[in-house]
Amino acid sequence: MPGLDAAAIHARLAARFGDAVGALEGARRDNASATVAPAALVAVCRFLQTEDALAFDCLSNLSGVDYPKRNVIQVVYNLYSYRHRHPFALKVDAAREDPVVPSVAALWPHAEWQEREVFDLLGVRFEGHPDLRRILMPEDWPGHPLRKDFVEPEEYHGISTSRESLLKA
């Protein structure tokens, strides 16, 4: 089965959710995306997953991006349908001061660790996540290191985090 192209997927989303789904971005089949309002995210994802013609059974990647100039942290959902062999991506903007995004771990169980990673590195809180803890950094780590304004601490448990260069004259 050839699957749907990006415009057709987006048309179905727009018909169902109206203004909650933004315009289609990206010209190619493999970078097509749409921005979704946080409040509508779970409904949109459930629709994408359960609708027979869409059937996005795999959340192949979930990542986050920090945009300080726009004062936004964006969470990106790369979806793929193994049944129809078509991809699509969703983007959700969250306020930088207190980024909160609903969790999709109930729909795709493998989202659980990926959401933990985004929480760990960018500080996005996923509402409804069953176990939102740090996954990579130590539990007592200060801040979220992939934020653009993150400053590396001088030392960690007495270990200095810098080393003098031997090349200095």
């Binding site: 130590p138 448990h157 270990i159």
Partner: protein, 166 residues
């Protein structure tokens, strides 16, 4: 000519320190401890071609019976604390080989937020092996340097020259 049959009652004379050091350097048990890609080279060094067994070296699964910890790979700050715990559990005398650029100074990842810039910030290092990663020959060379160091140690003589009583 074999000495076995010609001198069955043969005796050798040596210094006690030299004898002790000879036994110690010929049975360095290293901890089964690998951090990153250097650990693959360390496994190769333990394999049949480089063959650490000929030095009497065998990997041990616990720090409590290990003489040597080979820090092989990128040391994150999270792992640095655990590495210190492992080192503290090893019985004296204990040795540390820092293997590869990452363990030496942080290497390629020195500016990363999560990486400890050298294992010598946490535990004292005896031998640094350069390379990214070092080949088994390089690690073998480093371990032979460690053997050299062990064979020069003096345990029965105090630093001030007086013989130890214990």
């Amino acid at each position: 000519m074999s000495l076995i049959n010609t001198a069955p009652e043969m005796a050798l004379t040596t210094k006690v320190d030299d004898f002790l050091n000879w036994t110690r350097k010929s049975s360095i048990w290293y901890m089964m401890f690998g951090l990153a890609c250097c650990a693959i080279e360390m496994m190769q060094t333990g394999g049949p071609r480089a063959d650490l067994d000929r030095f009497g070296m065998a990997p041990r699964a616990t720090p409590r019976v290990s003489d040597l910890i080979i820090v092989s790979g990128t040391l994150t700050l999270k792992m640095a604390l655990r590495t210190k715990v492992l080192y503290d559990q090893m019985p004296d005398p204990k040795y540390v080989v820092s293997m590869g650029s990452c363990a030496n100074c942080g290497g390629l990842f020195q500016l990363a937020y999560s990486v400890c810039d050298g294992v010598d910030k946490v535990i004292p290092v005896d031998v640094y092996v350069p390379g990214c990663p070092p080949r088994p020959e390089a690690l073998t060379e480093g371990l032979m340097k460690l053997q050299e160091k062990i064979s020069q140690e003096r345990w029965l003589v105090r630093k001030d020259g007086a013989a130890a009583t214990a």
